[in-house]
């Protein structure tokens, strides 16, 4: 067995054990009764420790060095590149720091659930300061290991290859036109009449509707399921994708669009390259790319005017006919733009504003340019600038609204808007190749879209770095002009 084969064997062992971890995590959210929580947490922590042991065994650096000297083909070289990246990420942090950060962020996140509700910034601040202190330490370690700035080192964990300088370029572009566009769209929509669906809509009917729409979007139910959990997610393994959602009996569209969003994640996973499964190269390229697939489904397709004609009969079949579900009204419902405080409730047009302000704050925080105490004032100033809203004193709907920072997750927010930009760029490329794409979507011919995404993105796994994958798929690297053009066409067209 040469070093490459030995590396492959080790990755496959980690992959297989991770499969059980993944299914048990899904079960924890979707099925587990209350009294199972403690034992499950202990079991998952034990497995987490074991997987970390396996990923940091002392043989790795030698094996990686040996493999680099072996006669490998191009794919195998790409595979070693990804193995190396995984090894570096697993080994950069001292065990002690991993444990302190895990402890501090668990405590902070747990407290946040109550503190946010109580708008208690003063109570939250010291706990967040502790998390930020440890995140800065972690970023420092990662920075030294990878030769990147501290924020770039965190960003690289989620969006390999992306840098703050590049984000500043593309987000700077967005900032130059987004506030103006929001106003234009609001003026444009101010004369529209939009009917709101009148419920109630029984959960059982919504569940069947969700499954029908997943079927329409090509989800393979022989390789996955849809269940329910308090916080919807797409988990499981590529061979058995576990999507969850939650239902609201008075308002069915949020759950439905959530299902469509997760279906994008799910199809990416279901169609990752089978012949590399178990190797890092078979994994989704990045979180931004993952988000580009969920947003391709939710926004590019799901809110497409032609797609409303596909959704409308399914809604009427499962939830009963009513004027709000007619295609034209449905499309207006799904494309309503309204600046608001809450990121997760934001529409497609205002969403990037929420991401940009978080990126700017977390970058400065990680780079020691600001402190936790500065967050509320910065939040308010940026919300005023980008969305014209004041958040003075309104912490719960301001800087305390997201779980990310209390949970120690920094460098992740940009992925959401990178995903939206990639998705727009991919659909622009599709339209160049298939000039009648929009007519096809209007006729319910979605297969060309799925085929394009499968061949260009899903089947490529982590074969190429992100910039190369995007260039091969769409003919150019990240270009925010496509996102602007998409928004103008959809919301002002």
């Amino acid at each position: 067995m040469n070093a490459y084969q030995e590396l492959t064997r080790r990755h496959q062992r980690i992959y297989r054990l991770g499969h059980l971890q993944s299914i048990a995590s899904w079960d924890q959210s979707a099925n587990m009764p209350e009294k199972g929580a403690e034992a499950r947490a202990a079991a998952l922590a034990e497995m987490g420790g074991l997987l970390h042991e396996l990923a940091t065994a002392p043989e790795w650096p030698g094996l990686l060095a040996q493999a680099a000297a072996e006669p490998l083909d191009d794919e195998q070289r790409a595979s070693v590149r990804e193995m190396h990246r995984h090894w570096r990420a697993s080994n950069a942090l001292p065990q002690q720091l991993v444990e302190s950060l895990s402890l501090a962020s668990s405590r902070c996140e747990h407290a946040w659930r109550t503190q946010r509700h109580a708008n208690d910034w003063d109570g939250h601040r010291p706990m967040l300061q502790e998390v930020v202190k440890l995140v800065r330490e972690a970023a420092q370690h990662l920075s030294q290991a990878g030769g990147l700035s501290r924020y770039d080192a965190l960003l690289d964990l989620h969006e390999p290859g992306m840098r703050a300088a590049e984000l500043e370029r593309v987000f700077g572009d967005l900032k130059s036109w987004l506030p103006g566009l929001i106003q234009e769209v609001q003026a444009h929509q101010s004369t529209q009449t939009v009917l709101t669906p009148v419920g109630p809509f029984p959960v059982a009917a919504q569940r069947e509707l969700g499954r029908a729409v997943m079927g329409l979007m090509g989800f393979d139910f022989e390789a996955g399921r849809l269940d329910e959990s308090a916080h919807p997610f797409c988990g499981g393994v590529p061979e058995d994708v576990r999507m969850t959602t939650r239902y609201n009996e008075t308002e069915p569209l949020t759950a439905l669009m959530g299902v469509i969003h997760e279906t994008g994640h799910g199809r990416y996973e279901q169609n990752l390259p089978r012949h590399w499964l178990g190797l890092p190269m078979a994994q989704a390229r990045s979180m931004g790319l993952h988000e580009s697939q969920s947003l391709s489904f939710e926004m590019q397709l799901g809110s497409h005017p032609g797609f409303a004609a596909q959704l409308s009969p399914l809604l009427q079949q499962h939830l009963g006919a009513q004027p709000a579900f007619e295609p034209a009204n449905l499309h207006r419902l799904l494309t309503r733009v309204q600046p608001g405080y809450i990121r997760v409730d934001a529409d497609e047009v205002t969403y990037p504003a929420h991401v940009i302000l978080r990126f700017e704050i977390e970058r400065a925080l990680v780079e020691d340019e600001i402190e936790v105490d500065d967050i509320p004032a910065l939040w308010d100033a940026k919300m005023q600038l980008l969305l014209g809203l004041s958040t003075v004193g309104n912490f719960k709907n301001g800087c305390m609204q997201d779980v990310h920072w209390p949970a120690g997750l920094f460098g992740y927010f940009p992925c959401y808007t990178l995903g939206a930009m990639y998705a727009a760029q991919f659909f622009a490329a599709m339209r160049r190749e298939m000039p009648d794409l929009d007519e096809r979507i209007g006729r319910g011919e979605l297969q060309p879209v799925f085929d394009w995404l499968r061949s260009r993105i899903w089947s490529q796994g982590s074969r190429w770095d992100t910039a190369e994958l995007v260039r091969r798929a769409s003919g150019e690297t990240l270009n925010p002009a496509h996102f602007q053009a998409h928004l103008r066409a959809r919301y002002l067209g």
Copy 2:
């Protein structure tokens, strides 16, 4: 850390990883879509290998020897006894033999699924011969490791402490009166009129009924669930018990009694001693004891004439009122005795005949007294003797009906009837302590039964060996007279 603490740590690691194994196995039966099968099998096999590695690490014998010399209290000594038993069972077989047996029995079981359906004994025979050959080898290894006869060594894996000689004594007792009793009961029942329930009975209603009856039987839904699978079982972990069942829309009682049966297994697991969890001593004592709990629920309680009065209103509430569900008729339905070919369909009175004949054949087979070729004739002779039925040429409903032998499982069948005998003995002891027990059950006061089982059996885990546990619980070791008295009272009383 002394050796005992190190042993504890190692067992807890195995227990925690086993938790994930157990939940993923349940998921495999209850949730997993088809295309997940291959990856799941690989993941479970990887974990199986890892757990075996952990259980056979070279440090165990030294740690066990050191622990034996440490100053331990009585409980800790009992704990070391069980740790030693586990270590011996994990280490007795050469890895090569474990793999050959696993392969041969997987192939045989897989083929059996088709061969049984086709009544194809000639096709099945050579595959079963291969399994028996390897089982004999395994029994030989276990025999040498434990100083037992070959069959006793297999039996000891499932029912520690039980020996074939003891089984011959108690089963010999049963054989002396069972055929006569069956005839008496059939004569007694021949004049009864029994109404059959008229369906259909929708699955959703049966599901609610099952949950209601589980609630009546004290199942803790905060520490477990009821789901569906092709082959009902009780899995999961003590902190989160996963029961499954399957429904038949035309006949609801089989599923219902199956749920009651599994609830007995489930409550045993849910009430194992919490302070030892993770250690072998916290595990259920034996498969016979486990079966005694499911049969305490299904037979002693579930088919009790007084319990029919508890079941009847729930049946009528969930499935609609009909004369067949009146208490007296319901009790007659649940206690109908009729010799038949199939063990899993057998009633409480004829069931032991099925077990005794299997025990006699598998014991002789493992001890080299007979060969696979001899099975059909022996099967027929014993069925004639015990139940008056001929199985000549009828392999599918004769010696090919069970999965156990094709799957390599020998020494397990006796546990079913041991369980029935233990259950009868426990209820006899309860009646001595609570002379009004039957009236209480008739009034729906089940708590005294549960309290007795919890304090005497469930909470004891594997603190005592089986004979001692049974003696402490009921005042005597295994005594088949209680089973006979139970059957006479219930079926001829």
